[in-house]
Assembly symmetry: C2
Homo-oligomer: 403 residues x 2
């Protein structure tokens, strides 16, 4: 893909978008509230967690999107998920919506919210109220980095990307920020991600390419197999680029979908690489599966195996654990047909033949990226998953998260 | 259950059973080969791993049991799983069978084998051959402790139990040894377990109560969610007690089933408590589910959640992570209906109401046993699962297992 190129500014790179990220006291220190603003109502598409226990902000956003297809602002807080908070949590979520609408002078139907952090505690609404006012005053076209920082929880680095490309000679832009870390499991919208674009694009096409993009990116990463109560991914398209409307079945639509896919995948990989305690980004490629669905199941099983992830952490090319994880994945395959390559070095041939001295492979595992290619030799299905290694630091973070 | 009482001697407590555990050089040090011998051919029942990638000893045992229902000896090695070893592995497995038959002067159809340890390496057959000869010479009615030691891999303690009870005044005995640790996930036979009894019992009843007992014990424990290529559980019934034959539908059958269930569950809990790096045995009880199957799914999801397991390790009553794990389990339930108790202290009521200061709960989490009771308030289904906490030591063990 070289029809687009990277630019700075992430969510404020597209025209007509402003952002801010401030500290308001939800957390002990660190920015904890972000605001994303489009100067004109933007078309919106969103995907939400499939977890049955959905947090208040998820329920409120879904209620809003049932009757509204435009969005002008998104308020996001970190430090508190407003999940499992019952009626009080719902009131707090609606108040976040109303406060944002008032602070910006826009209809409440044009506001969405998101929360991330500890489950089961009420939002400190005094802090949130003041925070929204401050965030509204702080909005700027250079605010994307602050917003990316404010949505972080146990992330060790902010996640921002933007690209630009031309539609019939008119430049359009796509930008995004995301946060991830714990509880990242492929299951429809697996973290928080906020994407903006100034492209003019058909609303139903936007929805379709966003959903497809999320499925091929955020739903293909895994940190610990847990799916959160709060995950969501949203895209706002405000049309400020003034291009000819991108409609389905055109080269422009393909170009937009490809750029969006790569942007989403770029953010997803940043999340996988920054999994709690992670030291390596691990790419699991399964080919030769009976079909794509079997390939996804197989790749997910390997990506979620604690034993595989700790072996990679220990820089041990323990292919036996990979075969075991394939074996209990539930897919139909013949173990002795499997061929395996790690970091492009073929290590296992058919009939479990060892193709290379493991120590040569071990040397390549010292790096911060690992690729595992599993060829099942059963058919034409393939899929890629991204995960991270499992380290002692993961335990440290999650055993002491609330203290 | 007080119709039976505990005795020492585990697998050699029942009459007519002998065992040994010796060192033959498969591992660097530590006993690595065990032999269990019945002086008369015993009825046998067995359950094997559901993993598609089944190790050579599993395939060989299944082949033998297709035509034989009697077993006189089981040879078990640790240090090498003889899994993913192709044709050579099959030849080695058959040779283990033959060597055992020759050493004991019994038909090969009366021998079973099991292996546990590293995947993907050939057995050092020179060591195994000598080991079988030595183990046969070392058989004794006091050999159970040695056998329990010899089958251990990363276990920190041997797992042995035996009970006795009377059938119409005639004492019968049941004994067992097991090994577990990593890769323990409920999915039909989840580790190695060898059970002996001198009871006279109808063969098909033996099969039925053993299968039911394994389902309610070994298939209800979880260490890391991985299912091994080598797991198996076997029971031998040699009839040496001389009791009236136990047949289906009698009080004796119920008594035998209950004693066997408790013995299996006792061994299963030892395995869960001794999960790699574990510091706590965690019991997850789900009640009020739509049905038992939903309860099992819910309990398994909580038991397998890295986030729940690390929270318990950190002695943090983080009930939000429990709700989240229920939420992505796939069962149908209403999150706000859930009630939660930890160590018998009710902490969460309906509508996410907090019933107790968490710090009171935290104090009780310092112990080495934790119970989590989840009432879904949806119906009459219930299930219990056992797991352990997830510690940095788990990572240490599994990142460096082969070095």
């Amino acid at each position: 893909m070289d029809h687009y190129h990277s630019i700075t500014g992430s969510i404020t790179a597209p025209k007509g978008f402003f952002a801010s990220g401030i500290y308001c006291g939800i957390r002990k220190s660190k920015k904890d509230l972000a605001l994303i603003r489009s100067e004109v109502p933007a078309d919106v598409a969103a995907v939400f967690t499939t977890n049955t226990a959905q947090a208040a902000p998820i329920l409120v956003d879904k209620a809003i999107l049932r009757s509204s297809s435009k969005c002008s602002a998104i308020t996001i807080n970190s430090g508190n998920a407003n999940a499992c908070t019952g009626e009080q949590g719902m009131r707090d979520a609606w108040e976040m919506i109303d406060q944002t609408a008032i602070a910006l002078g826009i209809p409440r139907e044009e506001v969405l919210i998101a929360s991330t952090g500890v489950i089961g505690q009420y939002l400190p609404m005094h802090a949130v109220r003041e925070g929204i006012t401050l965030a509204a005053r702080s909005l700027s076209a250079e605010g994307s980095a602050d917003a990316a920082l404010a949505i972080m929880t146990t992330d060790t680095a902010p996640k921002e990307l933007a690209v630009t490309f031309a539609i019939d000679g008119v430049p359009v832009r796509l930008g995004g920020i995301a946060k991830g870390s714990g509880m990242i499991q492929p299951n429809m919208a697996t973290m928080l991600a906020f994407i903006t674009t100034d492209a003019v694009i058909d609303q139903s096409l936007l929805e379709q390419v966003f959903r497809a993009g999320v499925n091929a990116s955020f739903n293909r990463i895994s940190v610990d197999g847990d799916t959160s109560t709060n995950d969501m991914a949203v895209i706002l398209a405000n049309g400020c680029a003034g291009n000819t409307c991108i409609s389905a079945g055109t080269p422009a639509a393909e170009m937009f979908a490809a750029a969006l896919h790569d942007l989403l995948l770029g953010l997803a990989k940043m999340i996988a690489r920054d999994g709690e305690g992670a030291t390596k980004l691990v790419e699991i490629l399964v080919t030769g599966a009976e079909n794509d669905s079997a390939a996804i199941t197989a790749a997910r099983s390997v990506a979620n195996s604690n034993l595989v992830k700790t072996a990679i952490h220990g820089e041990d090319a323990n292919w036996g654990r990979i075969i075991a994880a394939l074996g209990y994945s539930g897919i139909d395959f013949a173990p002795h047909e499997v061929e395996l390559a790690v970091n492009n070095l073929p290590i296992l041939g058919k009939d479990f033949s060892i193709l290379i001295d493991e120590h040569l492979v071990k040397q390549t595992l010292a790096g911060d990226s690992v690729t595992v290619h599993i060829d099942l030799n059963q058919g034409g299905g393939s899929a890629t998953f991204w995960t991270c290694d499992l380290s002692k630091e993961y335990i440290h973070i999650n055993a002491s998260y609330r203290s």
